[in-house]
Each structure stands twice: as structure tokens, then as C-alpha cells.
């Protein structure tokens, strides 16, 4: 059993405003659309969906500012959409069509737009984010670098080199750990000794752990600690227990029926509509229509062009 499946009984979720819910639902339908396009053989390469984790970047969005940098990883569609609300540019990037954010060169896991950057190698982004945080500390106090990592990423030495420097130099680095209890096919219990909290503590790095899947609640829990990062108190590790509802990539979910059922049971998408059917159904339909329209548009576009000059 993993942390993801032993979370406590589900409280009723707080109401979120239409904009936040629309964003969560857009991410959900975007990811479903990708799996559908894959199944139809219309997508190239690979992709990693964030099904079940959509609320994390939406919650963070309420805590981040325009001047903050965001570093994402292989499972980054939600991070990108929460930052830029650009499903067409992202789908075009993933499909290599005209209008692609990075001309189709980077694809699903290598995207750069303004102060948003994703890379495909685990742990690699943390030292880079620390470097950006070093710049921000010197040139733009109050801004921070936010790096999303998974629980599996904590196997990489780069994480510790970065935490060490971030603490030594009091860098405004916010590490958001999307702890979904499984690294590809390996449960956390088989790949992570001790705890993330104890590892952060070993560096004297602040650590907040939350099992909330509630946008409003998460923001309230994280806000004071994020604010301390902005005020120069040094790095923060925000460990968010979450649920990877989908496979690691495509059709590679090796979890047992019961584990998958437990994860599905925790899914915000199932739990949120309780008592809020009107808002949910209205926006769910709107998000589905939006993503359908984006997909129709993007799939009809010509291939992207990459002019190396």
C-alpha cells in the first residue's frame, strides 16, 4: 500500500470559483483527449498525463505571481495549462502542428515559454531552478522559482545538491512534490527510504506536507510558507499527497485492481460534484467542448516548421 491509497476519509471539497474549476476540468479533458488521440494512433512518441493531479497546479496558480519562474517535468501538461491557459499551443506542440509553443521540437516534456520551462530528465531542473532563484534573489526580491518534482525524483542526487545550495544561500526556491505514491511502476515504499520530510529537515529546509486535494484548502495551507520564501527565509519543500489516476504513460498501469479503485475513489473529479452538480456539469461540458474544439482545430493544422537560423 502506498501513501496515495492510505489517505484519510474524504472530506467534502470546498467550492472553487468557476475559473479554477474550468481550468481543472480543461486539464482533465485535455489529458483524456491525448489518451484518445494516442489510442487512435494520431499522436507520436510518448506522453505522461497528470490525471488526478490537476488541482495541484491550479491551487499553486493562486499562490504564484507573474514574475515567478515555474519549472516543470515530464508530467507537465497541467503545470503548463495552469500557467498559460493555452491548450491549443500545447496540443500543437505535442502533435507537431503549426502554432506549437516550441515549434514541435520539445514536445510534451520540453517546453519553454516566458518564465515557464520543463525538462525531461528527473532532478535536472532543481539545480537550474536554484540558479534562477539565485538571480531572483539578487535582482528581483520577492519573486521565487517554483519547481515541480515527483516522489520518484527524490532518488536523484541533483535534488540534494540543489537543496543544499538553496539552504546555504537562502534561495527563494519552492519545491512542489507531487507525491502520487508511484514512480512509473515502482511504489514509493520500494524506492524511497525514510521520508521526504526528514530529508528536507536534514538540510534545515522548511517542509509542509498536505493530503488535501482541495484547491482552496491547499492554498490556505501553503500560503504562509510560500510567503516566507518570498520574504527571504530560504527554500520550501511542499509535499502534496496526490493521486495518479491514469497510467504512467499510456497503457502501462501495473497497479492492482484495488489500488486503482482506491485512487479512483480519491479522484477530485468524482468527489467535487457532490452537492455541486450544476456548476460541475455546466463547466465539465464547457471544458469538454473547448478541448474538442481545440483538438479539431489543431489536428487540422499543417505540420509545424522549425527554422534553425
Amino acid at each position: 500500500m502506498t501513501n496515495a491509497t492510505t489517505a484519510p476519509a474524504r472530506p467534502v471539497m470546498s467550492a472553487v470559483d468557476d475559473a479554477d474549476l474550468m481550468l481543472m476540468l480543461t486539464i482533465r479533458h485535455f489529458e483524456w483527449k491525448l489518451l484518445e488521440l494516442f489510442a487512435q494512433g494520431r499522436l507520436n512518441g510518448t506522453t505522461h498525463t497528470c490525471l488526478g493531479q490537476e488541482y495541484v497546479p491550479v491551487a499553486l496558480r493562486g499562490l504564484l505571481r507573474e514574475r515567478d519562474h515555474v519549472f516543470s517535468n515530464h508530467r507537465g501538461h497541467g503545470h503548463y495549462l495552469a500557467r498559460h491557459q493555452d491548450p491549443a499551443g500545447l496540443l500543437a506542440e505535442i502533435m507537431g502542428r503549426e502554432g506549437a509553443v516550441c515549434n514541435g521540437v520539445g514536445g510534451s516534456q520540453h517546453i519553454l515559454r516566458d518564465r515557464y520551462l520543463s525538462t525531461g530528465v528527473q532532478g535536472q531542473s532543481l539545480p537550474v531552478a536554484a540558479g534562477v532563484a539565485l538571480r531572483l534573489k539578487r535582482a528581483e526580491p520577492g519573486a521565487l522559482a517554483c519547481a515541480y518534482v515527483g516522489d520518484g525524483t527524490w532518488g536523484e542526487g541533483a535534488v540534494y545538491e540543489a537543496l543544499n545550495m538553496a539552504r546555504l544561500w537562502d534561495l527563494p526556491l519552492l519545491v512542489v512534490v507531487e507525491h502520487n505514491g508511484i514512480a512509473q511502476s515502482t511504489p514509493t515504499s520500494a524506492q524511497l527510504a525514510g521520508t521526504i520530510g526528514a530529508r528536507a529537515a536534514a538540510f534545515g529546509v522548511d517542509h509542509v506536507r498536505s493530503t488535501s486535494t482541495d484547491v482552496v484548502g491547499l492554498r490556505e495551507e501553503l500560503a504562509p510558507a510560500v510567503d516566507r520564501v518570498r520574504r527571504g527565509s530560504g527554500p520550501l519543500v511542499a509535499e502534496l499527497i496526490t493521486h495518479r489516476v491514469g497510467p504512467h504513460s499510456k497503457g502501462d498501469d501495473t497497479r492492482s485492481e484495488s489500488d486503482r479503485a482506491a485512487v479512483a475513489d480519491a479522484d477530485w473529479y468524482r468527489r467535487y460534484p457532490v452537492g455541486r452538480a450544476e456548476q460541475f456539469e455546466r463547466l465539465d461540458a464547457a471544458a469538454r467542448d473547448l478541448v474538442d474544439a481545440v483538438a479539431d482545430d489543431v489536428t487540422a493544422r499543417p505540420p509545424s516548421r522549425w527554422g534553425q537560423s
Binding site: 506549437a100 509553443v101 516550441c102 515549434n103 514541435g104 521540437v105 520539445g106 520540453h110 517546453i111 519553454l112 520551462l117 525538462t119 530528465v121 535536472q124 532543481l126 539545480p127 537550474v128 531552478a129 536554484a130 540558479g131 534562477v132 532563484a133 539565485l134 538571480r135 531572483l136 539578487r138 535582482a139 522559482a145 542526487g157 541533483a158 545538491e161 540543489a162 543544499n164 545550495m165 546555504l168 544561500w169 522549425w306 534553425q308 537560423s309
Partner: protein, 332 residues
């Protein structure tokens, strides 16, 4: 002036000229000033721009890449070039890729300085010349300090190019003097064939029996070989020393190589997949019809680099090996 002092001066000038420039490395702060004293005085003058770091080569190159991502030029010193292996991911999978993998050309002013090479008895993991492992990474430029270039110009060019670069600095060369005024010694003169390539010749740069192309770190050994070849074998060499190793552009060299019948590339790398092999390939494509035979390589043995001086000398390329390679190429 010694090469290490020349590099130190180059860094001081760069820091004075660019208020954004930063430098990170292990033990680079004063009073220590770096394992080879190349950063001496910098942290005293610019304490907030010169950071002595933990032992985290991968981490500090990543931090440098993060600074460069924001447009802040960054220089990272790797204490011994061998340790750059620990930063290979950041160089190969992030810094060099970031200039193009996001679909648009993007500056990344990151320079990784690597004290390189053997001859000082530091043993197998502190004596290597790892240039070959970085050849052919798209977006990455490789340079090497030489005794024939003013490193103030070279470093300004490397950092100013705004692209990820690795600068190899031979550790023995640190202690040797920078040549000036076009004079090597009583027999040899030099000039800059291009801003990048220094040319050493006897009387007339157009008259020679063999061209020796070599890295900055091996330049003195190549010059010693050129001297013994002239005095003992009556073979005249033209020695070319490029400061930029990769990408290696043969175009500007072709006029000077018009009469070349034999070419030897000399480098300190151990055998196999070397920079010299890359240069030879590029030269073959341009000079195949005019060369007498294939470009010959002179390099270190296919071996770890031993610690004991007599064993190390057997492995590393020396003047005598270059001498023999030239004799074989010219007369073989």
C-alpha cells in the same frame, strides 16, 4: 606572464567590464583563490558575484545554467576537469540542448572551465583530457587555452559568445609563460592565422614539409618536436594551434594548407574517438586529393594515466612521440 596569471587577469577584466557576470566553483574564494589560483582576488573584489560552492559539480553547473537562463553570464570552475563527468547531464542534456530544443534559438552564456591534463603525477582520475567526450554535442562549443593566445581575448570571446562552452585549461601550461610579440624562440616565430588559430613557422609560413595541428596544452611538446625535427631530421613543420576545438572549422585554414602533403594532429587525449580523429575526418574531406597519405594522429596511449612519473611519461603523448609521428608521415 604565466598562463594562469594571464587567465586570472582575463577574469578580473571580465568582471570589471560586466557587472552581471558570476563565477562559481569549489574553493575559488580568497585567500585560497582556486586549486590553481586562477580565481585569485576575484572574491575579494566582487564578494557577491564569486561563490565558493559545495562539492557538487552537477549542481553548480546546473546553477550556472539557471543563471544563464535568466541572461546572467556564468562561469563555473571545475576543480579538476575529470570531475566534469559529474556535470555531464547538465551540459549534455540541459545547457547545450536549451539553446535549440525549445524551438527557438536562445542564448545560454555558460562557460565551464576545466583544468585538464596530466604530467603532474595526480593519477588516473585527476589527469585526464576529456575533450573527446564533449565533441559533437549540438549547441556546445569547446575551447582550449594556448600559450600563443592572449587569454584575455580568448575568455572574452568565449563568454561573450553567449553559448554553452567548455574551456579546457592545461594544468602544466598554467605554469608556463604566455608567448608574446610573435616570438617562440631563436628558430620559430608565430602569428595568428585567424583570430582563433595561431600559426608557428620557421622563416616562411608557406614553406614546410609537414603541418602539425595541436591543442594548446600540447603546443609546447609540438614545438619541441618541431625543433628536433628541424635540427635532427631537416624536416620543417608548420604548427597550427586552434583555440576553438569544436566545432572545428577547416575553411579558414585551407589557404594555409594548400601545399600540405602530410598532416599530423597531436593531442593529449588517450586513444580512441578523439578530437584529432574528428579533425582528420574534416581535413580528409577537403584535402583528400592533395595529401600524400591519411592525416596521422599522435595521442596518449589507450590506458589509464598512472601516477608514478616514469609510468605516466610512458602513457602521455610527448615531444618524442610527435617527432616520430611526423617522421613516419613524411618518410613512411
Amino acid at each position: 606572464m604565466r598562463v594562469a596569471e594571464n587567465l586570472n587577469l582575463a577574469l578580473h577584466e571580465l568582471f570589471a567590464a560586466d557587472p552581471e557576470l558570476m563565477l562559481l566553483g569549489e574553493d575559488v574564494g580568497d585567500p585560497y583563490g582556486g586549486a590553481f589560483k586562477v580565481t585569485k582576488g576575484l572574491s575579494t573584489r566582487w564578494p557577491d558575484r564569486v561563490l565558493s560552492t559545495p562539492l557538487s559539480e552537477g549542481g553548480i553547473v546546473g546553477v550556472g545554467a539557471g543563471l544563464a537562463l535568466t541572461g546572467t553570464p556564468a562561469i563555473v570552475e571545475i576543480m579538476f576537469g575529470d570531475f566534469v563527468a559529474l556535470a555531464f547531464d547538465q551540459i549534455a542534456n540541459f545547457a547545450s540542448k536549451s539553446v535549440s530544443m525549445y524551438g527557438h534559438e536562445r542564448p545560454m552564456p555558460l562557460t565551464v572551465r576545466c583544468p585538464t591534463g596530466g604530467g603532474r603525477g595526480y593519477g588516473p582520475t585527476h589527469s585526464q583530457s576529456l575533450q573527446k567526450h564533449f565533441i559533437g554535442l549540438p549547441g556546445l562549443a569547446l575551447y582550449e587555452t594556448t600559450p600563443l593566445h592572449d587569454n584575455r581575448d580568448l575568455l572574452a570571446r568565449v563568454v561573450g559568445a553567449g553559448e554553452p562552452a567548455v574551456l579546457f585549461e592545461d594544468k602544466v601550461l598554467y605554469t608556463q609563460r604566455v608567448l608574446t610579440d610573435g616570438v617562440v624562440d631563436d628558430l620559430f616565430s608565430y602569428d595568428l592565422l585567424t583570430p582563433d588559430v595561431a600559426r608557428v613557422f620557421v622563416d616562411d609560413p608557406e614553406t614546410y614539409d609537414c603541418v602539425v595541428i595541436t591543442t594548446g596544452g600540447v603546443a609546447h611538446r609540438a614545438l619541441a618536436a618541431a625543433r628536433s625535427l628541424l635540427l635532427e631530421e631537416e624536416i620543417t613543420c608548420l604548427v597550427l594551434v586552434p583555440a576553438k576545438l569544436h566545432p572545428f572549422d577547416v575553411g579558414p585554414l585551407l589557404p594555409a594548407l594548400r601545399g600540405a602533403k602530410t598532416v599530423v594532429v597531436a593531442e593529449e587525449s588517450t586513444a580512441g574517438g578523439t578530437w584529432g580523429a574528428e579533425v582528420a575526418h574534416r581535413l580528409h574531406r577537403s584535402l583528400w586529393t592533395t595529401l600524400r597519405g591519411p592525416v596521422a594522429l599522435a595521442h596518449s596511449a589507450d590506458s589509464v594515466i598512472p601516477t608514478a612519473p616514469h609510468l605516466e611519461a610512458e602513457v602521455l603523448v610527448g615531444a618524442s612521440r610527435i617527432h616520430r609521428a611526423v617522421v613516419e608521415a613524411v618518410r613512411g
